[in-house]
């Protein structure tokens, strides 16, 4: 693997609680995520896969160890700096509750750019490209309540891709979808990696979902137990 790294961790641990109630969620993770690939992080409930993603994305502070994303060591950043970093370099697709209910699909897609105070004119072409390739051009004026689950996730993917982030994190993106919609969403994520060169990291517990990825990392009890490439 010669491609540059989109993110990496060294000696990453994360525990919740203290004393008797201390629960270790991650027990020392060393992981390199190459750029331009679709990586699936798998594992049963409680294996620490969501915690790993939260630490990688700068949503949560590790107990020890280091996380580097897009060449930036996250432990050096305070809350505001982390927020700005996420805005500029990270995209998110969550399992549920991805969109703000009072905004239209289009407003939801523009939201991160708007929060960052970026000019929308420069991103117009990118917006059209993303919206067209995700097939939601005719749904832009709808509010989330008027969209199906699959459509909502496509809007969320469009939002994540718009800012050309260094890395897109998807947290159980198909958890709430039926199988047809799941297949659609996973294809779109893979398509964004193939066609746009996007780096995508997906957390999932569904083996079928992992089949769409390039690499699979399997976690159990806070440790990496397996790494493999998916045969194309």
């Amino acid at each position: 693997m010669t491609s540059p790294l989109a993110a990496s961790t060294r000696g990453l641990t994360k525990s919740y609680g203290r004393g008797d109630t201390l629960v270790p969620a991650l027990r020392g993770i060393d992981l390199d995520l190459p750029a331009g690939r679709f990586t699936a992080i798998m594992g049963p409930s409680g294996s620490g896969k969501s915690t790993l993603m939260h630490c990688l994305a700068g949503l949560d502070q590790p107990t020890s160890g280091s996380v580097t994303v897009a060449g930036q060591a996250l432990e050096d950043l305070d809350d505001d700096a982390l927020t700005h970093f996420r805005r500029d370099h990270v995209g998110f697709v969550f399992q549920a509750f991805n969109l703000l209910p009072m905004l239209t699909a289009e407003q939801n897609i523009w939201l991160p750019a708007e929060l960052a105070g970026r000019s929308t004119t420069g991103l117009r072409d990118r917006f059209d490209q993303v919206v067209t390739s995700l097939g939601i051009a005719d749904r832009l004026t709808h509010r989330p309540a008027e969209l199906s689950g699959g459509q909502q996730q496509r809007v969320a993917i469009a939002r994540a891709l718009l800012g050309e982030p260094a890395i897109v994190f998807a947290d159980e993106p198909t958890g709430n979808l039926d199988s047809a919609a799941s297949a659609e969403v996973l294809s779109l994520l893979r398509q964004s990696v193939r066609e746009l060169g996007q780096t995508v990291v997906m957390v999932t517990h569904e083996t079928e979902a992992a089949q769409y990825a390039d690499d699979v990392v399997v976690l159990a009890d806070g440790r990496i137990v397996e790494r493999r490439e998916v045969a194309a």
Binding site: A57, T83, Q95, N98, M102
Partner: protein, 810 residues
């Protein structure tokens, strides 16, 4: 279900804090009103009978002349008679004006009629001696031995303080008591409340006949009957004040109902999954409803205990504070009757239960299956019902019709009905109206607020009903405040015009003898004097009145000192002060006015406001006296001059010259003070409901923050900084507060305009709507700031949301 009830009480108690506070404020206000009114009543009625001790009959409100005749006749009949009444005169000590309106009352010649209780010194023996009321002496720092001057000009009286007294009855209390022989000089300015008569033989009949012998047709009462009548009057007065105060408490409680209703609606919406789950595991509809109603009842009981205790403590504390700080207010003891306590406790229990009634009914509409569905976590607001909109529009139309009737026929009930109908109409239309206004305002402020502001605007209107309910509580207070402020400002300007007519001169120094020429410059040099104008005249003999200063008006340069215009007589007329008219001289009479050997006959007109002098046209004055001399100085005070200081300085100039002082400034200041006290009191009382409304806004916002935890987490993940989260919440609160205030201001001004048109204009000519821009602006700015303050706690809480929290499914 009891386990569920107790557990949910434990869990949700904190969220009921604001609701509890809202009821408490209203209940405390009710009990404070009860305490204060009972203390005032006690203060006013205690000792009411004492001045009549030993009397056989009391004649209520005799004319001063009748009273004087009765006092004179009493000794001849071997009876005692004493007078209760007072005159308002300027009181000065060492050239310093103690008060421009001090009440001067009589102390009886005979010990039998001396109802005042001597605490030091002695009672007056002879004219020129006076006793002071203890409280008045304390307030003015006067003591036995001080020399005082009562009144100004020719009727001024110098007295020595020989004793201090307590006055047991507030009803007839005066600050200074002098003997009748001294008081009689102000007979024309005397207000006589009653005259007590004790005949040589005890008994009402003899006393009545003796009184009727002097004043035929008089209807004296027995002492008991008279005292009871006075007591009734006093009670009626206190009742009116208490009812007005309770109206404000009612407004506060109404706002509390809205706030609590909103709280329950939001809380129950958040707990709808809990309720559905309860239904799933076998709770009946009735059980769920009862459990929730018991929760509101528990809140009410807590409010009843805290509210009555707090209200009693606050009432007693306030009365004690007034006792200590303002003894001259003469409050009695506060005693809150059981009825009040029952009413207050019932309100405390009733308000939450009533406020929870409708939200409770909505609780059980949730289908049990809702608990099994994944949480979509947001209910998009329900569309506003057509019936609601229709009812709102109908009420608006009905209100407008009622206003039209009120304007056409000046019927106050129609005005009130129109106000209520219109206001309820606006409240019903709130879910349509308020979000539209919020959007409009947000569009105006788009550039200013940035992305956080845009999110806030979206948040503010996402649940129109909740938005409307939140703003409604503030709307009530602001509408009433604005209406009162605008109404008072309009009345004030109408009164100001009238004051200009009644008191054209701020201060006039007038003398029947010519004044030295430097008086003008000396007056002008006084601090607080804006201008001083010499007014020339002459000393003339006016019919039976003797020597009177006759001034030629208008004097040159009158505009520089006068408010409005002073009365200008025609060439054949003379304007006399009302005080000099009477005693055989009537308006319309022709009188001979003589200076030396020159006499002119002039028609009498009457007026007031320039002191003890007659006014004639300059031509008339020239006919009387070809070389008029300085007889008066008219002074215009600075806007912020203190009327008593200024009167003191003028007294120092005028008194050695034998000149009298007319103080229009003090009357002006007194009217201003009354209006200030009135608007301050009303605004203060309404402020209480505004505070409750703001607690409501903070509460709605706080509950919404809990509800939107996942959204805030998502926004944080997508790149909203903590500061932006706080700004978003602050912008939402300010938007809500500003819209409620703007709407309330518009409504209030419209109501005030209608009130002025239909109530004030028919009574006071030239009254028109005056907008107190600074005050209205202050209301809007304060409301916006208060909205900002209301957002502080919820915003802190929201900003604490960790971006990772609440993203995973529970």
């Amino acid at each position: 279900m009891r386990t569920v009830l107790l557990a949910s009480l434990r869990t949700h108690t904190r969220r009921y804090g604001a609701a509890l506070l809202a009821v408490l404020v209203g209940v405390v206000l009710v009990l404070v009103t009860a305490s204060l009114s009972s203390a005032v009543r006690d203060g006013l009625t205690s000792g009411l009978a004492e001045p009549y001790d030993g009397a056989d009959a009391v004649l209520g409100h005799p004319s001063p002349d009748d009273a004087a005749r009765l006092l004179a006749a009493a000794p001849e009949q071997g009876a005692d008679a004493w007078l209760l009444g007072w005159t308002l005169q300027q009181l000065s000590h060492d050239g310093r004006v103690v008060s421009t309106d001090s009440d001067i009352g009589p102390v009886a010649d005979e010990p039998a009629g001396r109802w005042q209780e001597l605490t030091s010194g002695r009672f007056p023996d002879r004219p020129g001696e006076a006793v002071l009321d203890n409280n008045a002496a304390k307030a003015a720092h006067l003591a036995v031995g001080d020399r005082l001057r009562i009144g100004t000009g020719s009727s001024a009286l110098d007295v020595t303080v020989v004793g201090l007294v307590d006055s047991p009855s507030t009803y007839v209390v005066a600050s200074v008591y002098v003997l009748w022989t001294d008081l009689a000089r102000w007979q024309d300015h005397l207000y006589v409340s009653s005259l007590a008569w004790a005949g040589p033989e005890p008994g009402y009949d003899g006393a009545r006949d003796a009184i009727r012998a002097v004043v035929p047709g008089a209807e004296p009462d027995t002492v008991d009957a008279f005292v009871q009548e006075v007591q009734k009057d006093v009670n009626r007065g206190v009742d009116v004040i208490a009812i007005v105060a309770l109206l404000f408490a009612a407004v506060a409680l109404l706002v509390a109902v809205l706030v609590i209703n909103n709280t329950f609606t939001i809380l129950f919406a958040q707990r709808s999954r809990d309720f559905a789950l309860l239904r799933c595991v076998g709770a009946t509809r009735r059980q769920v409803v009862r459990s929730v109603r018991l929760e509101s009842l528990a809140l009410g009981l807590l409010a009843a205990v805290l509210g009555t205790a707090g209200g009693l403590a606050a009432g007693q504390g306030l009365v004690a504070l007034i006792h200590g700080q303002w003894p001259e207010a003469r409050l009695g003891d506060a005693e809150v009757g059981t009825v009040w306590l029952v009413v207050a406790a019932t309100l405390a229990v009733g308000v939450p239960v009533v406020a929870a009634w409708l939200p409770t009914r909505r609780v059980v509409r949730v289908s049990p299956l809702a608990a099994l569905r994944p949480d979509d976590s947001t209910q998009v607001g329900t569309a506003t019902g057509r019936t609601r909109v229709a009812a709102g529009v109908l009420l608006l139309l009905a209100g407008t019709a009622a206003f039209a009737v009120a304007l056409a026929a000046a019927v106050p009930p129609a005005l009130v009905a129109g106000g209520v109908a219109t206001f309820v109409g606006v409240l019903l239309l709130g879910p349509v109206l308020v979000p539209a206004l919020v959007r409009g305002l947000a569009r105006l402020g788009r550039r200013l607020m940035g992305p956080a502001g845009r999110l806030a605007a979206g948040n503010a209107v996402r649940n129109p009903r909740r938005t409307a309910a939140t703003t409604a509580s503030l709307l009530i207070g602001v509408t009433l405040t604005t209406a009162v402020l605008t109404g008072l400002a309009s009345s004030r300007s109408a009164l100001a015009d009238e004051m200009d007519d009644q008191h054209p001169v701020d201060i006039a120094i007038t003398s029947a003898r010519a004044l030295p020429a430097d008086t003008v410059d000396r007056a002008r040099a006084v601090d607080g004097v804006a201008a001083a104008l010499p007014v020339t005249g002459t000393t003339a003999e006016v019919a039976a009145l003797g020597d009177v200063a006759v001034l030629g008006v208008p004097p040159a340069g009158a505009d520089s000192v006068l408010h409005g215009k002073v009365r200008t007589p025609g060439p054949r007329a003379i304007v006399l002060p009302w005080d000099l008219i009477g005693d055989g001289l009537e308006v319309g009479d022709r009188v001979a006015v003589t200076v030396g050997e020159r006499t002119v006959r002039l028609r009498v007109r009457a007026g007031d406001g320039w002191g003890e002098a007659a006014l004639v046209a300059p031509g008339t004055l020239a006919r009387l006296d070809p070389s008029p001399r300085l007889h008066a100085v008219w002074v215009r005070a600075d806007e912020d001059a203190d009327p008593e200081d200024l009167a003191g300085s003028m007294e120092a100039i005028g008194s050695p010259l034998g000149a009298g002082i007319e103080n229009g400034l003090a009357d002006r200041a007194y009217v201003d003070l009354q209006l200030d006290v009135l608007s301050g009191g009303v605004v203060g009382l309404l402020g209480i409901s505004v505070v409750i409304a703001l607690v409501g806004i903070a509460n709605t916002l706080g509950l919404s923050v809990l509800e939107r935890g996942r959204e805030h987490a998502l926004l944080r993940a997508l790149g909203l900084t903590r500061r932006q989260v706080r700004r978003m919440l602050a912008a939402e609160a300010v938007l809500l507060a500003t819209v409620a205030t703007a709407l309330g201001t518009v409504l209030g001004v419209v109501f005030a305009w209608l009130g002025v048109r239909s109530l004030v204009e028919p009574v006071v000519t030239g009254a028109s709507l005056v907008l107190p821009w600074t005050q209205l602006g202050a209301v809007v700015v304060l409301a916006a700031l208060a909205g900002l303050a209301a957002s502080v706690l919820p915003a802190r809480r929201a900003a604490r949301t960790a971006p990772a929290a609440g993203l995973a499914l529970e």
